[in-house]
């Protein structure tokens, strides 16, 4: 098989474009041979930002504010990851209790709203109405019409998460929560009370969402076990004692059998563990764990990876939910792509519980918001974003200007896994089919959506792109070269 492909060769290519009900821009191509057998399917990231290049020369304190604008779905994650890197630049390895707790509060708020948005607004139509449902049914508007009570719960749960973000950041999207060494504001008593009054309702609804995701998985288990289920390695931050921790911890990686590849690795050494492969058909790179090698080193991140990697959860309801989740696979890693949904709802419960704990903590009204110490030249911030491990790396010169930036975003970590998932589903559902239907193609998108890819984030990679495109036939012979007209 050739890495490049041509519309002029014998290979037929089906494109799903644009991908819908995912955040951001991407497309899928499915490659069929003469006998209509699928031999490959690819997720293409087709846009670029150039962040790592154009942030160079900017003052370091701008990074947490600018970088969040890579992504309107998880801006808080980028704000926090950049701020964690800049904490090291300004010499603040330990924040004040108020600062760390405000950051955690906003982070839990964002994971809650992001997971709810993904599960209800984007995916629920597939799960509730069927992958083959008519295209006019597969959207949140149909959900509102057909299941108005459930849809309203979803709207209000997301609203609650967004209100947590607004209370800590000033606005719901692209706010100003974290700064190098701390945070901008604390939480006032009226802000706290406005959130507290909804806590009981949120806990109840989070349980309800968990039940939907769990029951869906259990009732459709025989399908789910065959739908893009494959063994892989997993990567996540975990706390020192192995508990789930979405804001801070050390890296743990395990293989498909549940054996640790590394554990409690300081994330500032991420370059010792991870490399990224370049492939010609996507602007998104393919990370792999160095010691496992380029071929076998790919891994998954995100809710499924976090639950697989975490020994336990430190909030009571989520702890119970985790035990039940793990019991499905007898404590061994769960490899089912569609189990991401269940895992996501376990995390929603955890976030709601954490928000409840934090709101009752008087440290949130503290006045010590930021600290500074000895200036450093390099900072690396890592956080568990809604979609998985997010890595920010910066170097800063003596004039406070950024000289180097490297980002590995959550969705990039899942690149190989998403490609394997869609290839697997394409082979099982499209191969040999006399006619490709809309419902069949939606199966491919269902597999993509399970990973909740943030294609907005994934477009951050470097700036201006090659202006020459070369077309090869399947034997690799150049048959056409196109140059952009200036």
């Amino acid at each position: 098989m050739s890495e490049v492909n041509s519309p002029m060769s014998k290979t037929k290519v089906i494109e799903i474009e644009p991908l819908t009900r995912v955040e951001g821009h991407g497309k899928v191509s499915i490659h069929l041979d003469d006998n209509n057998q699928v031999h490959d399917a690819r997720l293409h990231i087709v846009e670029f930002r150039g962040f790592e290049r154009f942030i160079r020369g900017r003052p370091y304190w701008e990074a947490p504010m600018i970088v969040q604008r890579l992504c309107g779905i998880c801006p808080v994650s980028h704000n926090l990851a950049a701020a964690k890197a800049m904490d090291q630049i300004v010499g603040a390895p330990r924040l004040t209790p108020t600062a760390e707790k405000i950051r955690r509060l906003t982070h839990y708020g964002q994971i809650m709203q992001s997971h709810v948005l993904h599960f209800f607004h984007l995916c629920a139509p597939d799960l509730l109405f069927g992958f083959d449902a008519d295209a006019s049914m597969r959207n949140v508007f149909a959900l509102i019409n057909l299941k108005p009570d459930l849809a309203m719960q979803a709207v209000r749960m997301r609203k609650f998460g967004q209100e947590v973000i607004r209370a800590t950041s000033g606005k719901k999207i692209h706010g100003a929560c974290a700064i190098p060494g701390g945070v901008n504001k604390n939480l006032s008593i009226p802000e706290r009370d406005a959130l507290l009054k909804d806590m009981d309702q949120m806990k109840k609804w989070a349980q309800g969402a968990l039940v939907i995701a769990r029951d869906y998985t259990l009732e459709n288990l025989s399908m789910i076990e065959r739908f893009a289920t494959f063994s892989s390695s997993y990567l996540a931050l975990v706390r020192e004692d192995g508990a789930l921790d979405l804001y801070h911890g050390a890296l743990r990686a395990m293989d498909g059998g549940g054996n640790l590849i590394f554990d409690q690795a300081d994330y500032r050494n991420y370059g010792d563990f991870i490399m990224e492969e370049v492939k010609p058909w996507s602007y998104m790179k393919f990370p792999f764990i160095k010691m496992r090698g380029r071929i076998d080193g790919w891994y998954r991140v995100g809710p499924l990876a976090r639950l697989n990697c975490s020994g336990y959860i430190d909030t009571p309801e989520a702890a119970k939910a985790l035990v039940e989740f793990k019991s499905l696979t007898g404590g061994r890693p769960n490899h089912m792509t569609l189990a991401y949904h269940w895992a996501r709802m376990v995390e929603v419960i955890h976030c709601v519980e954490k928000i409840g704990e934090l709101l009752n903590d008087p440290d949130l009204q503290g006045e010590d918001l930021a600290v500074k110490g000895d200036r450093a030249e390099e900072g690396i911030g890592v956080i568990e974003a809604p979609r998985g491990t997010l890595i920010h790396h910066y170097r800063v010169d003596e004039n406070d200007l950024i000289t180097y930036c490297n980002l590995i975003v959550s969705t990039t970590n899942n690149n190989e896994a998403i490609n394997r998932a869609i290839t697997s589903v394409a082979k099982s559902h499209l191969s040999g089919a006399p006619r490709i239907t809309d419902g069949m193609l939606n199966h491919i998108e269902v597999a993509v959506r399970a990973y909740d890819p943030c294609l907005s984030c994934a477009t951050h990679a470097l700036g201006q792109m090659p202006l020459i495109v070369e077309v090869f036939d399947t034997s690799g012979v150049l048959i056409e070269s196109r140059t952009r007209e200036k």
């Binding site: 819908t20 293409h44 154009f54 058909w281 380029r294 792109m465």
Partner: protein
């Protein structure tokens, strides 16, 4: 009933998220409009002509330009939503890399060749025909097509979007919520 289409070009999806920040009012919106092509449903192309098109983001590749022109053809009123559509926002920052003799080469080498974390033994750049060609610069929407209204903000708040949208739908004068227009 009015018909509405939305798209995110070179943007972060934050303006679409802000549209969802109208929260419970989404039910009222559904009584006023039908959604045609939007990333919130599975319509991949226009099914018919629309009254209002909402554009998030600017143009960074040839697909963005084609999509924007299609929206202009299919929509009576085109609204640029958010800073990226209006002034380029974060994506346009790449236009400012001017100090180098060959900024493109510098960018490519940094992304795909130079980093010690990159594995790329053939030193090839992404060049598959499936990838749309990038534009030499990021272009704002009004450089490509006529834009009828703009809603500033990064992103504009859900309240502001609601005010403008309902006014456009009902054909009434646009009033903005107090302090609701921000140019961040």
């Amino acid at each position: 009933m009015k018909r509405i289409a939305t798209v995110s070009l070179a943007g972060c999806f934050g303006c679409h998220m802000s549209l969802l920040d109208i929260d419970e009012r989404i039910i009222d919106l559904m009584k006023l409009v039908e959604f045609d092509r939007t990333p919130l449903n599975d319509l991949k192309s226009f099914t018919r002509r629309c009254d209002i098109g909402l554009i998030e983001g600017s143009c960074c590749n040839e697909e963005n330009v084609a999509t924007l022109r299609e929206f202009r053809r299919q929509c009576d009123t085109l609204v640029g939503v958010g800073q990226c559509a209006i002034m380029g926002g974060l994506p346009v920052m790449r236009n400012a890399i001017m100090h180098s003799d060959d900024p493109l080469l510098e960018c490519l080498e940094e992304a795909y060749l130079n980093s010690r974390l990159v594995y790329n033994p053939t030193n090839d750049m992404p060049n598959d025909p499936a990838l749309p060609l990038l534009l030499d610069k990021v272009y704002i929407c009004s450089q490509v097509v006529k834009i009828d209204y703009v809603i500033p903000g990064c992103p504009p708040s859900g309240d502001l979007l609601w005010s403008v949208l309902t006014a456009l739908i009902n054909g009434t004068p646009i009033t903005t919520p107090p302090g609701g227009v921000k140019y961040d």
